[in-house]
Symmetry: C2
Subunit: 287 residues, 2 copies
């Protein structure tokens, strides 16, 4: 496994792989790798013959009040995991390499960024879109792999790639969960033992909401009310940021649950704000 800190080095190594006839799969990460990230690497290796991961804790997607300083860092363990999992090249740039002091350019996506996480993190997705554009321009992969845990991020990046004609295929990969249902997240390790126990409520609330919808397709407001109650009752350490039922394509709030919907939730625990989501397919049979 190769590692590179400089942009020119990444370009050279990827060009050589491409010249040797290999297809390039890319998994961008912020480090703190867990099985969720590693499943993306597996997906990249299954579809491409040269796998690039990046480990870059991007400061521009954190607001000053957010958890950049306490975000878990584990670069040695991350590199070991990449090596074990068969990554060919890891790009580990310095902040100054990705964000030169005189940069003035921003990539923004409207509408999709103005709901869900965008409401409490209004500058977050511009940071994400700009850095992902840069990473895609540096690595120039055939396919890039993103997890559905960050469903909104995935939708925004797919939109951006399409809108800007970035020549890459965006691949969407399923959420990986702990045995008790908690969606894997680097931030989970920031939870106290008490909050960690309560954090399973996100998945429980989503599952309950999904079952309700599957059974009787009630108005979204009813489903939201009962899922909110579950979270408020079972996670006293958590503060609900949002629980929304939206159109999976537009991310607009829906009133009815007859068609396919996305149920998305964010809860702030001391030490970590957690998000999770679940798709409910319109074609699934009522139970």
């Amino acid at each position: 496994m190769k590692t590179a800190r400089e942009i020119a080095e990444v370009r050279r190594i990827v060009s050589e792989a491409r010249a040797a006839g290999r297809t390039v799969g890319f998994v961008p990460t912020m480090g703190g790798l867990h099985e969720g990230h590693l499943s993306l690497i597996d997906a990249a290796r299954a579809e491409c013959s040269f796998t690039v991961a990046s480990i870059f804790l991007n400061p521009t997607q954190f607001a000053p009040s957010e958890d950049l300083s306490t975000y878990p860092r584990s670069i040695e363990a991350d590199l070991d995991a990449c090596r074990t999992r068969g990554v060919d090249l890891v790009f580990i740039p310095e902040v100054e390499t990705m964000h030169r002091g005189d940069a003035l350019t921003t990539v923004t996506v409207s509408r999709l960024t103005e709901t869900l996480c965008g409401r409490s993190r209004p500058t977050h997705f511009a940071g994400v879109c700009t850095v992902v554009t840069k990473l895609l321009n540096i690595v120039a992969p055939d396919k890039a792999f993103f997890g559905q845990k960050d469903y909104q991020q995935l939708a925004i990046i797919a939109q951006m790639v399409c809108d800007l004609d970035i020549p890459v295929e965006v691949k969407s990969c399923p959420i990986v969960r702990e045995p008790d249902g908690l969606a894997m997240s680097t931030r989970n390790q920031r939870l106290s033992p008490e909050a960690r126990l309560q954090a399973t409520v996100l998945h429980r609330a989503l599952t309950l909401a999904r079952e309700q919808i599957r059974q009787s397709r009630p108005p979204a407001s009813e489903v939201i009310a009962s899922a909110r109650a579950v979270i408020q009752n079972e996670a006293p350490a958590g503060e609900l940021d949002y629980l929304q039922i939206v159109d999976p394509k537009t991310l607009r709030d829906v009133e009815t649950t007859d068609d396919g919907v996305l149920i998305a939730v964010a809860v702030k625990f001391p030490g970590a704000r957690l998000i999770d989501n679940m798709l409910v397919d319109s074609t699934a049979p009522r139970q």
Copy 2:
């Protein structure tokens, strides 16, 4: 010479050229080709072995009040000129191909876009940056050629390409002028005979300002005052939009003219708003 209307077709033709070992030069245009554009094609042919031009009158860089509907179109003459000048591929997309109705993504550059033309055209450069990003992603050239007549546009695109790590070299090409000094522009043909005569005042004012600076390095405000007077006296049909002396890198207004400066001017004539500019090198000897 090949022509392509579809993105996939451009990608296929450029890939084939690249696979055949050719380097790709790109000249984006809005059509209405004149010797200024053709000099960019010549520059591309001199440096690259496969030359792509695009002809796309991009609506998103025009405000509703601006001259999109009267902007000169001459597609058959443009294609003839490209053929004669040795272009290998012309990309002539439909508006719907470049701007799908559901697009939500914008590329913006701050600061550099907030002065000069950006003051009277506040949405212009976001339209330019977004469409140029798309064109560069579609054509994927080694080098892209832009004229210095649109100095601010060139500075903004160079900044954007650097900031987003777009893998292309931006080449800056000199202004081409009519025998009487008027900078070539597609919009010149929109001028009445009277305005066409008066329009030479832009170049005259810039040249006078440059001579003043070379001779005595006066404060910028003095140079601006006398250049403004020239325009107001000699072009009664014109309305001065701006005349600024700025730092050629930051485009910020300067107070002194000791270092290298850019003198930039815009004048609105009935039918056409004209721009022009001149660099004054700090190292040029005083005369």
